[in-house]
C-alpha cells in the first residue's frame, strides 16, 4: 500500500506515473528551486536544484527521471558475478597496460 513519507511536506503534489505513485515537493529559497521526488512505495527520494523561474513541469520531469534511475539502481544493487576465468583477463586480446 503506497504511503506518504513522513518527511514530505503537506502541500506536496501526488503524481500517478506508470511506475507508481510519486510525491513531488517544491521548496523555493531565493532564486533557487529545490525539487524533491519521492517514490511512495519504497520511500526512495531524490533532489534536484533549478532556477525558481524555470517551468515546474520541466523541473518535475528532470526530478522524476532521476528518481527512476535511482529506483532502477535499487532494483539491481549488485553487479553480476564475474566468472573466475574472466577475472584473470584484463581485456580481450591485451597483455596489460602501463600507466
Amino acid at each position: 500500500m503506497p504511503h506518504k513519507p513522513q518527511d514530505i511536506g503537506k502541500d506536496a503534489d501526488q503524481i500517478s506515473d506508470p511506475h507508481g505513485e510519486i510525491y513531488i515537493e517544491y521548496k523555493q529559497v531565493g532564486q533557487t528551486m529545490k525539487v524533491i521526488a519521492v517514490d511512495a512505495a519504497t520511500g526512495i527520494e531524490v533532489v534536484i536544484m533549478g532556477p525558481a523561474s524555470a517551468a515546474q513541469s520541466h523541473l518535475q520531469k528532470v526530478a522524476i527521471q532521476k528518481l527512476k534511475m535511482q529506483l532502477k539502481k535499487a532494483e539491481n544493487p549488485t553487479e553480476p558475478e564475474v566468472e573466475e576465468e574472466e577475472k584473470n583477463t584484463s581485456s580481450p586480446g591485451r597483455k596489460g597496460w602501463t600507466a
Binding site: 532564486q31 533557487t32 528551486m33 534536484i48 536544484m49 533549478g50 532556477p51 523561474s53 524555470a54 517551468a55 520541466h58 523541473l59 520531469k61 528532470v62 527521471q65 532521476k66 534511475m69 539502481k73 581485456s91 597496460w97 600507466a99
Partner: protein, 403 residues
C-alpha cells in the same frame, strides 16, 4: 633529406594561402571581462575581447574564482597522477555526480579536454561494438572525426542537419547492426542548431545509439544549463552527451554523461582517459562551482541571449553580412582568407578589438569569416565601438556588405 626545408616549405605554403595562424599574446583581466592586455614587442595595450568561448564570462565569476582559491589552499596545485593512480580527488567525484545530474544520466566521466573526450569516447564505443557503423553529420567537429577515424569502423557522412539523408543511410542496414549517430547540438562556426529529438526518434526506429556533442550549448541553454537537449526536454532520449567545461562553464576539461555501463566501459578501456594526468583540483573545483551556479541561475543565460540578438540586429542594420542563425554565435562573412586576416589585424592595431580570423580548415575555403561571441558582460558602448570599427574597415577594404 633536407628536413628543415620540408618544414619551411609547408609553412611557406600556408602563409602564401593566407591561413598561417598567429596567436595573440594576451592576458585577461581578472574580474574585468571582456577587457584584456595585449602584449606586443615590449609594449602592452588594453583591448576588448570579442572572440572568447568563455561565453558567459564564468572564467571571471567571483564564485568560481573563490572555489579555485579554496581548492588550492586545501589540496595544493596538481592532482598528483592519472585517475587510476592517485589522481581521483574528491572534487572529481563530486563534479562527475553533478554533471550526471545536469544531464539526467546515471553517470559522467571527466576528460582533460572536450577534444580528448570525443576522440577517446567515440573511438572506444566503436571498438566495443563489433561491426558498428557510424553515421556522422558532415559538419561535426574535428575531434569527433578523429574519434571516428581511430575507431576504425565503417562510416557514413550525412548531409548537415538533413534527416532525410540520415534515414536513407540508416535504411541500408539491418536493425541488428550496431549503429551510432554522432552529431552536435550547436554547430559553432555557423551557429545553427540540430533537431535532437527527431534525430533520436530516427535512432530509436533504426536501433542506433545517439552521441551528442553539446560543447557550444552546455551552461548556455536549458533551464538548468544542460544544453539544447535540456531546453528541448529530450535529455532522456540521448544516449551519450559530451560536453566541455571550457566554454559556458569558463574553465577547461571535457566530459561525457551516459548510463553507468557506457561510462564504466569508457572509463575502463579508453586510452585517452586512462593514460593522462587528471585535471588539477582547482580546475575541477572551479568547474563544480560554475556548474552548480548555472544550474540555478538564469540571469547569465537570459542576458547572453539578449546580447547576441542585439548585436545581430545592430549589425544587420549597419549592412554588415551577419550569417543568420538561431544561436548565440555571430558569424560575419568575409569570404577571403587574406582579407579576413587583414581585417582582424586592423581591428586589433587600430581599434584595440580582438577578433580571431576563422579560415580553412576550420571552415570551407571561400567562407572565411570573423566569429563574434558577445557575452552577458559586453555593454552597449562596447557594441557601438565594434560596429563603428567594422563599418569603417568594411568601407576601406571594400568588403561585400549584406544584400
Amino acid at each position: 633529406m633536407n628536413y628543415e626545408k620540408k618544414f619551411a616549405d609547408a609553412l611557406k605554403e600556408i602563409k602564401r594561402e593566407g591561413r598561417y595562424r598567429e596567436f595573440a599574446d594576451i592576458r585577461r583581466k581578472c574580474g574585468n571581462f571582456p577587457n584584456a592586455e595585449h602584449f606586443i614587442s615590449d609594449e602592452q595595450h588594453d583591448i576588448k575581447v570579442w572572440c572568447s568561448n568563455d561565453y558567459l564570462g564564468m572564467g571571471q565569476n567571483p564564485v568560481v574564482i573563490a572555489a579555485m582559491h579554496d581548492a588550492i589552499d586545501t589540496a595544493g596545485a596538481g592532482s598528483g597522477g592519472t585517475r587510476n593512480i592517485s589522481g581521483t580527488t574528491h572534487y572529481h567525484v563530486e563534479l562527475e555526480a553533478e554533471l550526471a545530474d545536469l544531464h539526467g544520466k546515471e553517470a559522467a566521466l571527466l576528460f582533460t579536454s572536450g577534444y580528448i573526450a570525443n576522440d577517446a569516447s567515440i573511438s572506444m564505443l566503436v571498438k566495443l561494438l563489433p561491426s558498428c557503423v557510424i553515421f556522422s553529420d558532415e559538419k561535426n567537429h574535428a575531434s569527433m572525426i578523429e574519434g571516428i577515424r581511430h575507431g576504425g569502423g565503417p562510416k557514413h557522412i550525412w548531409r548537415h542537419n538533413d534527416l532525410e539523408h540520415l534515414e536513407e543511410l540508416l535504411q541500408k542496414y539491418d536493425q541488428d547492426t550496431p549503429k551510432i549517430i554522432a552529431f552536435e547540438s550547436v554547430y559553432s562556426m555557423d551557429g545553427n542548431i540540430s533537431q535532437i529529438g527527431d534525430i533520436c526518434d530516427l535512432a530509436k526506429k533504426y536501433g542506433a545509439l545517439t552521441y551528442l556533442d553539446e560543447v557550444h550549448a552546455v551552461g548556455l541553454y536549458g533551464p538548468r544549463g544542460g544544453g539544447i537537449a535540456d531546453r528541448d526536454g529530450v535529455l532522456d532520449k540521448v544516449d551519450v552527451i559530451e560536453g566541455t567545461l571550457a566554454k559556458g562553464f569558463g574553465l577547461m576539461g571535457g566530459y561525457i554523461a551516459a548510463s553507468v555501463d557506457i561510462v564504466d566501459s569508457i572509463r575502463s578501456f579508453a586510452l585517452g582517459f586512462i593514460f593522462t594526468t587528471s585535471l588539477a583540483p582547482a580546475i575541477v573545483a572551479g568547474a563544480l562551482a560554475s556548474v552548480r551556479h548555472l544550474k540555478v541561475s538564469q540571469i547569465e543565460r537570459e542576458r547572453h541571449q539578449e546580447r547576441a540578438r542585439t548585436l545581430k540586429r545592430r549589425m544587420k542594420e549597419a549592412g554588415l553580412p551577419v550569417m543568420d542563425n538561431p544561436s548565440h554565435i555571430v558569424p560575419v562573412m568575409v569570404g577571403d582568407p587574406v582579407l579576413c586576416k587583414n581585417l582582424t589585424d586592423a581591428l586589433m592595431e587600430r581599434f584595440s578589438i580582438y577578433v580571431q580570423p576563422i579560415n580553412y580548415p576550420t571552415v570551407p575555403r571561400g567562407t572565411e569569416r570573423i566569429r563574434l561571441t558577445p557575452s552577458p558582460i559586453h555593454s552597449d558602448a562596447d557594441m557601438d565601438h565594434l560596429i563603428d570599427a567594422l563599418n569603417q574597415l568594411w568601407g576601406e577594404m571594400d568588403l561585400r556588405r549584406a544584400a
